[in-house]
């Protein structure tokens, strides 16, 4: 993610939402780690919190994070591919809420959680960038996504992903 962010050189960014597979007891350690590496402060949103530009959001442990026109919603429904928070859940909600303004980014990951959600984003007119599996620490997720999206996956390096996000238009959501 560092590489992506270093190449995301821009003053104003749209709201960026991160889903990392994490365990319930992970506490604030993850957030603190991200705070040190990201250019701006990371927030774990509360239910009903509105999305703001220039802000990084991290899905809180033990909840699914969803977005709609009101802002963030949380859910305690059962895990998807053993994950809660799940990438699929976030991506699907973003697909329906933001349609062609949604941008999904798939990076390294050990399960297929995210592939189906990526398909939803594309179906609703949005775009999905996938890290080249050759460069991924764990290629399972990028591969599963490419398989699911067939020709519609835009596979690229982390550097390119960062630049693409920076060049994108307002109100795109970047998700891992």
């Amino acid at each position: 993610m560092d590489t992506v962010l270093r190449n995301m050189n821009c003053e104003v960014t749209p709201p960026i939402v991160l889903v990392l597979h994490r365990t319930l007891g992970s506490g604030t350690a993850l957030k603190n780690l991200l705070d040190r590496h990201l250019p701006r402060v990371v927030t774990e949103p509360d239910d009903k919190e509105p999305l703001k530009a220039n802000t990084f959001y991290l899905a809180p442990a033990g909840y699914h994070l969803l977005v709609d026109k009101e802002g963030f919603h949380l859910s305690t429904d059962e895990p998807v591919c053993h994950s809660r928070p799940s990438i699929d859940v976030l991506f699907e909600s973003a697909a329906h809420a933001f349609k062609d303004r949604a941008l999904g980014v798939i990076l390294t990951g050990a399960s297929a959680d995210g592939a189906e959600g990526a398909a939803q984003i594309v179906e609703q007119g949005g775009e999905v960038l996938v890290q080249d599996p050759e460069t991924a620490e764990n290629p399972a997720l990028p591969k599963a996504t490419i398989k699911r999206l067939e020709k519609q996956a835009r596979v690229m390096s982390l550097v390119e992903i960062g630049r693409k996000i920076a060049n994108g238009s307002a109100s795109k959501r970047r998700l891992k």
């Binding site: 509360d46 239910d47 919190e49 009101e70 949380l74 305690t76 909600s93």
Partner: protein
């Protein structure tokens, strides 16, 4: 399924459910509701929302299944142990000053929260003067909660949570193990009344010292949430305590000014006089 078509069918489904059964899901948060409808459709083996509507309007068992599944939350006893620890250390002393305490657990689901609360009150020595009202939208789920039976392999996690929540005894003393199940002591439910209550449509039914509504309103739109918070405002006695879920906040609500937060970020709020 095209977007507009889904929205039309979904609106018709919810309208039909409301008019026939009186359950109003029309102001449930869109995206989480969409997931749950899709899951219900897969469970019932129907391809379209309209087909689901057909089934649900003509088969009350299908409706019961739908409502039952809406009411299930994947949760645990002493979930967010810090919350219970704060409740034990900061709220219980306040409750001691009352001769009689009424507690409402709104959206009690399968009962984990009820047992957790009962255990804290019991260890604090004030259980006998408390009356707990545990309500939920689904009769089926309430029936399950009353049984007090939980998977035995959940006990490891529950014990850990219990200890982090300031538990003073042996957690295993609260249940007996039988095959794969842990059956919790019926005495913990001595002062508990389970009742069906619908937060979207039912009115206030009493005045309480404590109301817990945790991880229930996350499924509501903001508008509905405001209405439910107003219902709680009306149901809390002076200086009563409202307890929300870890990632729920009064910050985006009109009710914010009516409460003070007891302890930062613990989601226990006291109603200002």
């Amino acid at each position: 399924m095209s977007e507009d078509l889904y929205n039309i069918e979904k609106d018709l489904l919810l309208e039909g459910i409301y008019r026939l059964y009186g359950y109003d899901f029309r102001e449930y948060a869109e995206e989480s509701l969409r997931r749950r409808i899709k899951k219900a459709m897969a469970r019932e083996g129907v391809e379209s929302v309209s087909a689901f509507q057909d089934m649900i309007l003509h088969d009350v068992k299908c409706m019961e299944r739908f409502v039952g599944n809406l009411a299930i939350h994947v949760t645990s006893m002493f979930r967010d142990p810090d919350f219970y620890l704060t409740f034990r250390n900061r709220v219980v002393p306040l409750l001691r000053t009352y001769p009689f305490v009424r507690i409402w657990i709104a959206g009690c689901s399968s009962g984990e929260e009820v047992f957790s609360t009962a255990i804290v009150l019991s260890e604090s020595g004030i259980y006998d003067r408390c009356r707990i009202y545990a309500t939920d939208i689904s009769d089926a789920v309430l029936k399950r909660a009353k049984e007090g039976i939980f998977p035995l392999n959940s006990m490891k996690e529950y014990t850990r949570n219990y200890l982090m929540a300031g538990g003073e005894g042996e957690f295993s003393s609260y249940y007996t193990a039988k095959y794969d199940h842990a059956i919790f002591r019926p005495s913990l439910l001595k002062n508990v009344t389970f009742a069906q209550h619908n937060l979207t449509s039912d009115a206030s039914f009493n005045e309480f010292n404590v109301i817990f509504c945790r991880n229930v309103m996350i499924y509501f739109t903001r508008t509905l949430q405001e209405r439910v918070l107003k219902l709680f405002d009306e149901s809390l006695c002076r200086l009563g305590i409202l307890g929300l879920g870890k990632k729920e906040s009064l910050k985006y609500s009109a009710s914010e000014g009516l409460y003070e937060e007891l302890v930062d970020a613990q989601r226990l709020y006291r109603r200002l006089p």
